[in-house]
Symmetry: C2
Subunit: 343 residues, 2 copies
């Protein structure tokens, strides 16, 4: 079946915007007016408003050779929701800026928006506006997310205290290993028209890279159990980097334990296969979108009962620095990574 | 004097962010927490929250051959403020997404931020967050602006009524003529090392293109005079296109008068020099960032007393369509432009 391809110029700016924003239903009472005026209009009478923004550029943050546009849209939205959850908040609205080069058709942009809208559907977020323009060089996606949180429930990076437990949701390093796998198969596919990538037994890694989720469930479970973390951040640049942010802003140090790091068996197998250091992947891999948070010591037992959370260490006084205790009892000081793109 | 150039890699992501956000003072009570966590935190207890976003791409929206980075930063911020004023609101915060390719140094990004911060200073806006990343292709700027407005003062595009007066602030077509002039001088400069561009007598055009202002003053003057427009929009894509937005969303038609269009004499001289149609430039030029609004007929006299506003026509019933009456009494129907970039 031939796929229908529609040039964007056929619709024009306003036509395209109408086309992709058609049939958007407003889900939140805080959304007063969505797409269609100079601004979106929101109302947050009793709550604090949270704002987070992300810029995704083709060739830097994503490679369309192996990233389907629908997945890309989904991920672009979800990683922004993740920032709102990391403040113990609830995402409510997003605005989407899109720069589109000539090689993209209306159907491409539809697929991208399908992903964005699916994420909005699942997480209960309203798409309320944006800016769509042409680009000389590939696809640019800019998403700003607006969320809400009660004044007394907001969690900053700066509240961690000596002896607090350090917790992380889910597992680490899988998205990074997924990226390595996708890159390997991309290279293997060069020049082969009937290439079939080998993902058997590694589906989890591919999913973590292509379709991450924000940990809405963890936030909800903590709330149900009346636990408000003292500090929280989402793991986008790697555990090591995020933990250093918390410690720096909380004027504290930390000790985490290598044997407590949550790692999926697929991640471990892949690291073995690629002859990479597994702990480095877990510490610095990035794009996990798990929640890293600290809670007072007395929540220990209660936390054990909540699924999907692992206690990996504790906060210390500032002068002890930030270190990981290895399996053989050595202390390795943590280093900031981040921005592997630029260097 | 040799200019000091610092590679961005020397500072790294977190170093660069600290460097460019250093010493930001919070100006608004609605800003609870700015740069430095997963989100910015705002509080809007009594007001509606306005959100507007813009994506600016090198080679599409700006040409660094003749646009100084400081001016670019200033303009990028101001055009977003303009969207907030167009809802009769007040801009309060912005978040800035930046994609930077390797040819940019720390000093370049400083210059860009100097412009953004100057705009924030002048308009009383807080810079509260952002995302900074590398780019494969030039400079990408994404700005999202957050503003506020009272529920009973908000102005949409959709409220224009039959017989309402159509008003526009300032003058039209100058920014477009400024662009033509800058492009002409760019071409003339090719291969000449000691080239001096000819801007004498055309300074206003260059300024309108490189350093536009948002019409905060007009919003304040309307408020002082207790005038709330029935519909409003800012002129970014050209008068014609914006007027069609108002009419479409208000289910109405309009008549404007060619001889009422506000045009600066420098704009007229430049159009003559370039052998371009002056009225087309005024109707479709774009980037004027003036306010186009409608008010009930009885405000006629009061409006005349407020400086910088011109009544250019009136709203009609929908079935009369949208047209301009030319100097010789003919009716020309208005056409949508917009998105000249993509076609």
């Amino acid at each position: 079946m031939k796929q229908i391809e529609t040039e964007i110029a056929q619709l024009g700016e306003f036509g395209l915007i109408e086309h992709i924003t058609n049939g958007i239903n407003i889900k939140n009472i805080s959304t007063k007016k969505g797409v269609g005026d100079d601004c979106a209009v929101l109302n947050y009478t009793d709550k604090e408003v949270l704002i987070s923004t992300d810029l995704l550029l083709e060739g830097v943050h994503f490679d369309l050779t192996y990233v389907p546009l629908k997945h890309l849209g989904y991920k672009a939205a979800v990683v922004n929701f993740s920032d709102i959850y990391a403040m113990n908040g609830t995402p409510r609205q997003i605005v989407v800026g899109l720069g589109i080069s000539k090689r993209f058709t209306v159907e491409h942009i539809e697929a991208l928006y399908e992903g964005i809208r699916l994420a909005c559907e699942i997480y209960g977020v309203d798409l309320v506006g944006g800016d769509t323009t042409s680009s000389k060089a590939g696809l640019t996606i800019s998403i700003t997310c607006i969320g809400e949180v009660s004044k007394d429930e907001i969690v900053y990076r700066s509240g961690a205290k000596d002896t607090d437990l350090i917790c992380v949701s889910g597992d680490l390093g899988a998205a990074y290993m997924g990226l390595q796998l996708l890159e390997r198969e991309k290279i293997a596919s060069v020049g082969q028209s009937d290439f079939q990538p080998k993902f058997e037994g590694k589906e989890y890694l591919v999913e973590r890279q292509l379709k991450p989720e924000a940990r809405k469930d963890i936030i909800e479970n903590l709330r149900k159990n009346n636990i408000i973390p003292t500090a929280m951040i989402d793991v986008s640049d790697g555990l090591s980097s995020e933990l250093l942010h918390i410690c720096k802003q909380s004027n504290s140090g930390c000790r985490i334990y290598e044997d407590r790091l949550p790692i999926d068996y697929q991640t471990a197998i892949m690291a073995e296969e690629l002859n990479m250091n597994l702990v480095t992947a877990a510490l610095n891999g990035g794009e996990d979108y798990e929640l890293l948070f600290t809670v007072p010591l007395h929540y220990h037992e209660q936390l054990e009962k909540i699924g999907g959370i692992k206690i990996i260490g504790h906060i210390t006084k500032e002068d002890l620095g930030c270190a990981m205790i290895t399996r053989d009892g050595n202390e390795i000081y943590l280093k900031a990574q981040g921005w592997n793109h630029l260097q």
